[in-house]
């Protein structure tokens, strides 16, 4: 019997297996092992966590394939890696070394200021960021098999992650209550493909898995995003920029599973040491915000 690889079902399916889990940014093999031991459901291999990309400035690009492959060899959980928005050659390189998921990420410096990658052409699944329903559905239209709300990466301030999750989920609730004849105008207003808008209206959710990202730094932050209705969380700088990464990583994993149990959340939040220092987004100049990258 014939085997079919690289179908959208299979790509979307891996995202479904990540649900209820925590995906952690790691910059080397040692971090990757700490993340796996803590119960991460996947790791994101990159050379610098977003907080350092912010601090260092300059152009942020795809990581060294050698560094990514060493992490792939060190852990059994899926390994993701980032390419720049629109940089389909970086994506081809990441696919060729066998990463399990590509994040077409605003955290790196965009390579194209009009277009994202046409992701249907790849066998490897993609995750993309969004701030609202229109952006999510444009990415899914291009072939993204998973969505994450953007938040504001590298800040340790959860406020933007909350804003983006509330916006996406709120727009879905609004869409479900629209009469049919208003759906086309709605889809025009948010700049999203009509067929996908109709599908979301029917499903009452995005047609792919939706994680939260950008600014999650504590077990309570992770549980907050889960209670708001996302399927799982990405934690970037929040773990390895904290005082005790192994302990904090395990605590965030537990909080993501038991997000509705305040007693367990209190237990896992005890004595975690210093959280990442963080940067308050409300006093950050607009030019320093990276969530606005993506079109």
């Amino acid at each position: 019997m014939e085997q079919k690889v690289g179908s959208f079902e299979v790509k979307k399916g891996l995202a479904q297996m990540l649900k209820g889990g925590v995906i952690m940014d790691v910059v080397n093999v040692e971090h990757a092992k700490i993340a796996e031991d803590a119960g991460a459901c996947a790791v994101m291999a990159l050379e610098r966590v977003p907080a350092d990309i912010r601090a260092d400035g300059g152009v942020a690009r795809m990581s060294d394939p050698d560094m990514i492959q060493k992490i792939m060899e060190a852990v059994t959980i899926p390994v993701m890696a980032k390419c720049r928005i629109g940089h389909f050659v970086e994506a081809q390189i990441l696919e060729s070394i066998g990463v399990d998921f590509i994040d077409e990420s605003e955290v790196l410096t965009p390579a194209d200021e009009s277009n994202h990658i046409y992701k249907h052409n790849f066998k490897v699944p993609f995750v993309c960021g969004c701030r609202n329903l229109g952006e999510a559905l444009r990415r899914i239209g291009e072939g993204a098999a998973m969505i994450r709300t953007k938040g504001e990466a590298g800040t340790g301030d959860v406020v933007e992650a909350v804003r983006h999750a509330r916006t996406v989920l709120g727009e879905i609730r609004k869409l479900q209550n629209l009469p049919e004849e208003e759906v086309m105008a709605f889809s025009k207003e948010i700049g999203a493909p009509f067929e996908l808008v109709m599908e979301v209206r029917k499903l009452g959710r995005l047609p792919v898995v939706n994680f939260a990202a950008g600014g999650i730094a504590t077990p309570a932050d992770a549980a907050l995003m889960m209670q708001l209705g996302v399927d799982g969380v990405f934690v970037g700088s929040g773990i390895f920029k904290s005082g005790d990464p192994a302990k904090r990583a395990a605590a965030i994993v537990k909080a993501t599973t038991h997000y509705n149990d305040p007693k367990i959340l209190a237990e896992v939040s005890r004595n975690l040491g210093e959280a990442m220092v963080g940067r308050q987004i409300s006093v950050m100049p607009e030019t320093e915000k990276i969530a606005t990258r993506g079109w």
Binding site: M1, Q3, V10, L18, A42, G98, V99, H258
Partner: protein, 192 residues
């Protein structure tokens, strides 16, 4: 009938949706007390290391082993790994089924695939002889089975992808993703 889905991590909601469409009462199991009164349990796909570590952390491992002595358990993908006795590396396992698993046996995600399988045992559920469309995602393989374990399905090359040992069931693919509920109905019969 009341069936639990282990809700530590992974695609548990997908199993819940299929079971509820079949009129089953579903309980999400995160702590030992959630096992009380269940007729059976599904351990979903996800990351087997994550699921095993969370079960250990919340004292669920031993209660799951005791539950599995008398009650039906079905593991899909990561769940099948977790049910097994041996995966060739150190990670938390229930060790209930006498099967040896090879993790990520087909390669990485770019090698994940769909295929039509012949599954003769499903004829007891639906007499129409049609293949089962199976989705394999970074899938494990059942490398070998012990005495008393029945092979339910294999790939063309003979490699085992579904097996049953009494009231325990393991599939390396994902019947919860494809809209064909015959495996769920088969498991409901096992849980009766």
């Amino acid at each position: 009938m009341k069936i639990g889905v282990l809700a530590l991590q992974g695609a548990f909601a997908e199993h819940q949706t299929v079971l509820e469409s079949l009129g089953v009462e579903v309980v999400q199991v995160r702590l030992p007390q959630h096992l009380a009164g269940l007729n059976g349990l599904i351990i979903p796909g996800g990351e087997s290391t994550t699921i095993g570590k969370l079960a250990d952390a919340f004292d669920l491992t031993q209660p799951l082993r005791l539950f599995g002595r008398e009650h039906a358990i079905w593991g899909t993908c990561a769940g099948a790994i977790y049910l097994s006795q041996n995966v060739g590396r150190a990670q938390p396992l229930l060790g209930l089924m006498d099967i040896t698993i090879e993790r990520n046996a087909f390669g990485r995600q770019v090698d994940s695939f769909e295929v039509d399988l012949s599954v003769p045992c499903l004829l007891n559920i639906d007499p129409e002889d049609k293949p089962f469309h199976a989705v394999f995602i970074r899938a494990p393989l059942i490398e070998s089975v012990g005495k008393g374990v029945e092979v339910l399905a294999s790939l063309d090359d003979g490699r085992i992808v579904a097996a049953q040992q009494g009231h325990l069931l393991a599939t390396s693919f994902h019947p919860e993703l494809t809209g064909d509920d015959r495996f769920h109905r088969y498991f409901m019969e096992m849980a009766k």
